[in-house]
Symmetry: C2
């Protein structure tokens, strides 16, 4: 696979500088054009060490406008990173729309090294590649221009390169970091690289293999590939697919028995019981370094807030983070819609409680037309994939939709308007949403149909009786934690 790239074609200084001058202007132009779009550019610079990745990155920074470009390097992991789902660290470093992010060391580094060093097997490696392809697909679907460069060098060149570095060896851990490079693991590393490329080579996000023997040649080549990829994308903006309308969903809400209720006495008894249980389980989860990720959705006035307070009331404040989801900030708007949720994930052993969540995409954003049809339909898969990542990392997921009927909602809205310290909870928007009850009903049912998975099931909570709902929620959380911890 790589052999054909070893026909080294050196480029003399003069012709390099001539080509560099034009290329540079074109790259700048395309960078400025990108800045006016909603497309972030993600450049992955990969390849064996000694292939000159670092030098290339320096050159790209020199050629383009540093103000719109950010280089991210991944080598040593911090415990903040280690204690969160794998892709968290990368989501956090994604470039904003119109910006360019260069990744020197990326989501590819870890699995590659692990396989070379025999820490994982081929099957696990294939899975990792699968998850990487999904990650990249999600970003590209959202408009990201992903450019993956693989710098290839022959064994001799690598050895020469690394030996040149020898004098700095004690300064530069890199050279000793990955022993295989110096101890003849070249062939092994090459085989792994080949598998990596095959497994993550997609039409949407292809690899570009560059003959890196000659510095001038590889820099021009890389620049041209970047220029070409950006230009082609900007010339032919992708036409949004027109997905087929979804079949009408099952009526899950109708199946919720809203008659369920608890007497105040039973409520107090059970609440105390399960809150105590939840408190212990939260500490046990902390000890076992397992994270709870809970999502709270429901009709306006369903009692989300008061239910959440009964949950937080049971957990030590140091063990949870409550994340109320409101209108996104401009930093959030300039990223993939899942970015703002990824960035909120707490460390292993802590709980993250979302008061409203990424499901806004397929509810309010869908109903209010804030997301196009192909966007919110795509979101079902994207959400399942994200929750899959969390589950794979060991997070315990629980998702609640608190259901009430329209009469109950009306009664509560009116009650709120009477109670001074609740008036703030009822707005004109609530009344507007109320008029869209049928559309929301359909959206909720479709959401439940498409995103209720084994590792992240929905719990539809009968909410006409607040007592029942609160106990139901805390009890469900306890069950989920028990299942995971014991």
């Amino acid at each position: 696979m790589f052999n054909q790239f070893e026909a080294s074609t050196p480029l003399d200084k003069a012709s390099f500088e001539a080509r560099a001058l034009t290329l540079r202007q074109q790259l700048l132009q395309s960078q400025f054009t990108v800045e006016d779009t909603r497309d972030p550019v993600i450049i992955v610079v990969a390849g064996l060490d000694g292939a000159g990745k670092g030098v290339l990155v320096h050159r790209l920074n020199e050629w383009m406008d540093p103000r719109g470009i950010e280089t991210n390097t991944f080598w040593e992991h911090s415990d903040e990173e280690e204690s969160r789902p794998y892709f968290w660290r990368y989501w956090n470093k994604l470039p904003a729309r119109g910006h360019i992010g260069i990744f020197l060391g990326s989501w590819y580094t870890h699995p590659t090294q692990a396989l070379v060093e025999g820490k994982i097997g081929t099957a696990e490696f294939k899975q990792a590649c699968e998850r990487i392809s999904i990650f990249e697909r999600q970003l590209a679907d959202d408009g990201a221009i992903i450019i993956k460069l693989w710098l290839h060098v022959s064994e001799e060149t690598q050895r020469r390169q690394l030996e040149e570095k020898a004098p700095r060896r004690q300064q530069n851990p890199r050279v000793t970091d990955h022993p295989y490079e110096l101890t003849g693991k070249y062939q092994r590393a090459l085989d792994v690289s080949e598998q990596l490329i095959r497994n993550t080579q997609t039409l949407q996000n292809p690899w570009h293999i560059i003959d890196a023997e000659d510095r001038h040649y590889r820099e021009i080549k890389a620049g041209e590939i970047i220029l070409d990829s950006i230009t082609r994308r900007l010339e032919q903006p992708e036409v949004p697919p027109q997905p087929p309308a979804l079949p009408p969903p099952g009526d899950f809400l109708a199946e919720v028995n809203l008659e369920k209720a608890l007497s105040k006495r039973d409520y107090k008894r059970k609440l105390r019981k399960y809150q105590a249980k939840l408190q212990d389980l939260a500490w046990e989860a902390y000890r076992q370094k397992r994270s709870l990720v809970a999502v709270f959705e429901g009709w306006d006035g369903a009692g989300k807030g008061s239910a959440i307070r009964r949950v937080t009331g049971a957990i030590d404040p140091r063990l949870y983070k409550l994340v109320p989801i409101a209108a996104p900030s401009d930093e959030e708007l300039s990223h993939h819609y899942l970015w703002r949720f990824w960035r909120q994930l707490q460390r292993d052993g802590r709980s993250t409680l979302f008061d409203r969540s990424w499901y806004g995409r397929v509810m309010v954003e869908r109903v209010e037309g804030l997301a196009a049809q192909h966007e919110w339909q795509r979101a079902y898969a994207e959400i399942n994939e994200m929750e899959g990542e969390l589950a794979a990392h060991g997070c315990v997921l629980a998702k609640f939709f608190i259901h009430i009927d329209q009469d109950e909602q009306l009664a509560r809205f009116q009650a709120r308007e009477r109670e001074p310290h609740k008036q703030h909870k009822i707005t004109a928007e609530d009344w507007r949403n109320r008029e869209k009850w049928p559309q929301y009903e359909r959206a909720v049912n479709q959401m439940v149909e498409h995103t209720s998975t084994r590792h992240a099931p929905w719990t539809l909570v009968a909410g006409n009786d607040k007592y029942y709902a609160r106990v139901k929620i805390i009890k469900t959380l306890c069950k989920a934690l028990e299942r995971a911890l014991y």
Copy 2:
């Protein structure tokens, strides 16, 4: 000091609920009023364990609107936190304007515990308090409403509280975390607390000591203090002080010898020499876990960008972060102007390079009238204090202002307009700024006069000759690192 607070005054359930109902409405009201201001609210909940801090925090969250309130807890430190200046972790958690941040465990926790456990002496403790007062003063000057609550309990009550927790002991590390609480160090902890309060008791940010013996009483009391503090501030918005005009500064720019120059041959030789040196020093700094924080300022067209590229060209991409400072995002605007710089600080052993910096406050923001006179004048001290914090942590600071004369600038502007791949660097704004040369000159001289400190000196670089300037900068960086590392 605390005795008078032990006259426990229990509050029966009925009267508690009556007062809570009104208080709650008033708190909500004030919360909504705050949301329309530019003032963040910072509530510090402190006191010995067993005083019911956690329970109080739950209550406050219950009383107020969770959407505008965020609880931050500090107990276990991550290595990301440990490897940055002390206040970094707190700056990162500061509430945005109009929001409320509750701190359970705060900048007070660490020094208090350290002194109780005898890890530091009184002198060091006093210093810590001094730095805390500065931190709080900076936030309050910027509009923050800082409310510091100290919950006091008697030794008996504490013991009872902690023993009640005993059954959960193995769930709850807290109880065993700080041995002194259980092993009769109460008096010691109390003495330390008293010192802490005395040392950080300021008119601007006073402590409120609350008798926490009775749960109902302390919750009402805390609520009333918060309400009162917010109300008083909102009723009497502070009148901006009218600081006296500063005396004309020395003319430091005039002293720069712009004749200095290097032949291309000397340039290439020296550049190679010092870049190699800088590369080694950067790795040595990494090994010694020392951070370089470098600031690059200068006239438009002075050659900042190309100089920075020579610096980054010498450092392994994994060891530095280049931070170009552009217009702030709305998240940044909703915080103290130093927040966006604090959040960028890299970990120990890495370099953070700022292309433009916090000095914009006393240059462009001053000249363009984006900051009021009392704001930019205050900034000199604030900046020295921030840089002092970095230096205290072990950061190596270097600040460059690249100076050119007006003719040279004109020549470069015109050259840029001719060169296609440089046109983007010259904008109408550059021409406008050029007309304000005298105002900027004055601002620069004043900046140098007030912010050139022993630990963070300014280097005014003669920039008419780019070769000379680049070498001068890299050489200066090498010197600074050598001084720090050897």
